[in-house]
């Protein structure tokens, strides 16, 4: 197990290097003079020259990439033009709320999806199965930004049950309310945005989960469990559940990509103070260094979640070590 973890951690290095290279390459797609694109048409010639020097635009790209990497190692992502502060500060300040949102969405999506998949498989080819299959199809096809708007309309505007913008209630911020009160408030704010992402993720996880559950239920070892006289409860909650979880884990990891990317929409709709909204603002302001930093950090988070999913799968199923 520890050998496997070490191997996976080592593999992380080339993947992260690759990810940084992609971010770097995409950002060099900018047409024309990057310095001009970053600073905008009203920049003074001195500032332009200054930026060109910091970006080492006179050097060939491999050197520039290495230079950028070197800066990253020191936590230096350059300076945001629109915010007039270091990119790293702005990005990491916003990372927490995004991780909270994405994590909640992924957890909710995984729970809903797994439950749906299991129920459908247990009621295979019956009305419940068809209903779940239909719901799953709807989930997969939902535009998350539209779902977010519908939830706002329903729970925020018409029913007035839940807050629909921001991460905390204004009057609570800065007061010395008990931490429990604060967290409860954040949770209330978290519910609708995370649900908007979770339902779509649940669709994908539910679809894969149903297939996995059908496979596991049909497997020889489940029949042997019955032949050994184990109770249906134990077979379902221990043997089937673990088998399904082991198979679905990689898909849950992949869905992290969806919730982290989809956070861009949902944070915009719900005014969630996360990295996604920062990215949208940065794109609108043509703040390329900020975009570069934000995308890099989100992509890195995705790589990490996938690693965690792989390790979890390995912990569930030790046969995967060889792969």
């Amino acid at each position: 197990m520890s050998g496997y973890i070490a191997k996976r951690l080592l593999l992380l290095v080339p993947v992260l290097l690759g990810v940084s290279l992609v971010v770097f390459a995409v950002m060099s797609l900018v047409p024309g003079d990057p310095a001009l694109a970053i600073l905008g048409p009203y920049a003074t010639p001195e500032r332009l020259a200054d930026l060109r020097a910091t970006l080492h635009l006179d050097q060939p790209w491999p050197l520039r990439w290495l230079g950028w990497l070197g800066g990253l190692l020191h936590g230096d992502m350059g300076r945001s033009v629109s915010l007039e502060r270091p990119v790293a500060d702005a990005v990491f300040e916003r990372l927490g709320p995004t991780l909270l949102l994405a994590g909640a969405a992924l957890l909710l999506g995984a729970l809903l999806g797994l439950a749906a998949g299991l129920v459908a498989a247990l009621r295979h080819n019956r009305a419940t199965d068809r209903l779940v299959t239909l719901a799953v199809l709807l989930g997969i096809s939902l535009p998350p930004f539209w779902l977010g708007l519908l939830l706002i309309l329903l729970f925020g505007v018409w029913l007035g049950w839940l807050p629909v913008s921001g991460m905390a209630t204004a009057w609570l911020v800065g007061t010395d309310a008990a931490p429990a009160v604060m967290w409860l408030d954040v949770l209330r704010h978290l519910l609708l945005p995370s649900l908007s992402l979770a339902l779509v993720a649940a669709g994908v996880i539910g679809r894969i989960g149903r297939g996995a559950a059908l496979d596991v239920l049909a497997a020889d070892h489940i029949r042997l469990c019955r032949a050994r006289g184990l109770s249906e409860r134990r077979i379902l909650l221990v043997h089937v559940l673990k088998g399904v979880l082991a198979r679905v884990m990689p898909v849950i990891g992949l869905q992290a990509g969806f919730v982290l990317g989809g956070a861009v929409y949902i944070e915009t709709i719900f005014q969630w103070p996360g990295l996604g909204r920062l990215l949208v603002d940065a794109i609108a302001a043509r703040d390329l260094l900020l975009v570069q930093g934000g995308v890099l950090v989100l992509a890195t988070a995705y790589v990490m979640v996938n690693l965690a999913a792989d390790l979890a799968q390995h912990a569930l199923d030790r046969r995967t070590a060889a792969a």
Binding site: P31, I140, A227, V295
Partner: protein, 629 residues
């Protein structure tokens, strides 16, 4: 979502696929829905709709059914219906274009990787891996950020973000196609590589590509809408569904329709495309749709009462039948199986695969696959098992009747340590187990294997695993052990060891053994009596020695002829011509008649009964082989 890399049937099979598609309800629903949505969208220029860009501040936010505006107007007084239809055209066009672009570029890369040698493959696939380590939404966003907002750039970004998916899937498919016979044939015929790719590979790739494109089109439409929603796609006054949704968001509380309708249209489009894609997948590649499944056993049919009196037998099976639910009524797979098993007796059930021997064994445990039901009577020590409910049956399983599976690598749960599975088995029944774990391990000869309980099934050799499975089966000291092809997966030496172990364990505790196998020579060594099954029926029931030397049923003789004789591998096997009838297939008279060398006209008239032949033998044959010697 991961690239399914199986070659699908070639274009020649497309006609068949189309026919099957027409009978696929989900695909038809998708097609109908898509047509319903697409028809007005495509016909938009022909309908006399107001100009979608024409603003009229005096007539803003009109409710639906307003004069001249079927769905009302938006915040600038533009006709909502016209905007929806024209917006949908843009969304679909951009999504389709992105799909085509991604498919074309991805196919070229995938082909190059699969066909261009190791180094190119390695290089391209590393690149694909890195791009796939990226959330695709984020990749598309970064590209648009660099290129600048606009519909063309959004299309490009989405296409690029999806190229890795296509490249990987196409590569896998092409690699599989490469190994097909017709490629080798084309090579032998001296055709050049370009010609092979063009004439042989591409047509066979086409169905896979079509499927990939249909399943991706849905996401592409969604992603385009997403970028436009953020203001990075369509720029005003041009509009697609996503940008309409984005604009309408501002008026969500005052006039929700402006935001709700475009989203609904996106949903309808994507749902119908996905439905169609699912149907296409089912039709083109049945392997992708998990259909086969087993579930909790159906309660046994208790209506049939046994005419069999208890007697001294441990197991008495009478008129056992197994049926599968079929489209045209139940299909019998096993019929009229009757036999008895005394305490301590070893009986074998032998036959070709598909003859119903495993179904017979499973029905004794009430563990038939989903869709199968059983009739008849199974009595264990006089108690009718068919009348028991699930809980009572479970109580018997593992305690009175135990089961040793064919391949314990798959039959032991691969995700749990042997110790856990041993433990749960020992605790499975209220009354304590007959043996402790240590005793069981000694009984099957596994004492001395270090760390046994902490290991996973895959960490054992085949023989050791089978011993573990036997230990689990013996935990509660069952009266009857059912071994289903328990040695088939093992090599010959280990096979003999396991057989000897089974024999010893049954002899010592006067335990009955029902040994299911296809190997007649093997069971003859182990068992006292052999039941030969053919096409779901017992055709001969005879003492092992008698059967081995003087088979009475022509099928037993044929089976024996097809078994390699020990020490005589040079002796040619008498291979039986033909196939057994499929379950449910109509065969008049004796079911073996089509393959039987002794068949007469009478054989095709009436099915023979299982009649006594001599003192210890039952045979289902009109003209059994009489002893000549």
């Amino acid at each position: 979502m991961s690239g399914g890399a199986q070659p699908l049937p070639g274009t020649g099979a497309l006609a068949v696929a189309t026919r099957r598609l027409r009978r696929h309800p989900a695909a038809l629903a998708g097609l109908a829905l898509l047509a319903l949505v697409l028809l007005p969208v495509l016909a938009a220029p022909l309908l006399s709709l107001p100009d979608p860009a024409l603003t009229d501040p005096a007539r803003r936010m009109l409710p639906p059914l307003a004069i001249g505006h079927l769905l009302g107007t938006d915040h600038l007084g533009r006709d909502l219906l016209a905007r929806l239809l024209w917006g949908a055209r843009t969304s679909i066009a951009v999504g389709a274009l992105a799909t085509l672009t991604a498919a074309a570029v991805g196919s070229v890369l995938g082909l190059a990787a699969a066909w261009g040698g190791r180094r190119l493959d390695g290089l391209l696939m590393r690149g694909v891996d890195v791009l796939m380590a990226f959330p695709y939404l984020l990749l598309a966003l970064a590209i648009v950020a660099a290129l600048g907002p606009g519909l063309a750039n959004a299309m490009l970004a989405i296409a690029v973000a999806n190229v890795p998916f296509f490249a990987r899937a196409v590569r896998g498919t092409v690699l599989d196609i490469r190994h097909c016979d017709y490629i080798a044939a084309a090579r032998l015929a001296g055709h050049g590589e370009p010609r092979i790719v063009l004439r042989e590979v591409l047509p066979n790739l086409a169905p896979t590509l079509l499927l990939l494109m249909t399943t991706t089109l849905g996401w592409m439409v969604l992603e385009t809408a997403g970028l436009s929603f953020l203001g990075l796609g369509a720029q005003p006054p041009a509009a697609d569904l996503g940008s309409m949704l984005g604009e309408g968001r501002e008026f969500l509380t005052t006039y929700p329709l402006v935001a709700v309708l475009p989203g609904l249209l996106i949903l309808l489009l994507v749902v119908s495309i996905n439905l169609l894609g699912d149907g296409l997948r089912d039709v083109l590649d049945p392997r992708w749709s998990p259909r086969r499944s087993f579930s909790a056993p159906a309660p046994a049919d208790a209506r049939l009462q046994s005419q069999l009196e208890g007697g001294a037998s441990l197991l008495a099976v009478q008129d056992l039948g197994v049926r599968f639910a079929g489209a045209a009524g139940p299909v019998p797979a096993v019929a009229g199986v009757s036999f008895r098993l005394n305490a301590g007796e070893c009986v074998a059930v032998v036959g070709e695969s598909g003859c119903g021997k495993t179904l017979t064994a499973l029905s004794l445990l009430g563990l038939l696959p989903e869709g199968a039901s059983q009739v008849g009577s199974v009595r264990l020590a006089g108690r009718e098992l068919m009348a028991l409910d699930g809980a009572a049956l479970r109580d018997l399983r593992g305690r009175r009747i135990a089961y040793v599976p064919q391949e314990p690598l798959t039959a032991l749960d691969p995700l749990f340590r042997v110790g856990v599975q041993m433990d749960e088995t020992l605790r499975a029944h209220g009354a304590g187990p007959a043996y402790t774990a240590a005793e069981l391990i000694r009984m099957v000869g596994l004492d001395g294997v270090p760390g046994l309980m902490r290991r996973y099934p895959h960490e054992f050799s085949g023989g050791q695993r089978q011993r573990v499975a036997i230990a689990l089966a013996l935990a509660h000291g069952p009266d009857l052990l059912i071994a289903d092809e328990a040695t088939t997966a093992l090599d010959v030496t280990v096979q003999r060891e396991i057989l000897a172990l089974l024999r010893r364990l049954c002899d010592e505790q006067a335990r009955a053994l029902l040994f299911v196998s296809h190997d007649l020579a093997l069971v003859a060594e182990l068992c006292e009596r052999v039941l030969v099954m053919y096409a779901g029926r017992i055709v001969e029931d005879a003492p092992a020695a008698a059967l081995l030397h003087r088979p009475a049923h022509p099928y037993s003789a044929a089976l024996l002829g097809a078994t390699p004789e020990l020490g005589r591998p040079d002796k040619p096997l008498a291979v039986l011509a033909g196939e057994p009838p499929a379950p449910g297939e109509r065969v008049d008279g004796c079911r073996f008649a089509p393959r039987c060398p002794r068949a007469q006209r009478e054989c095709r008239a009436v099915e023979p009964a299982l009649d006594a032949l001599g003192e210890h033998r039952l045979v289902r044959c009109l003209f059994p082989i009489q002893e000549a010697s």
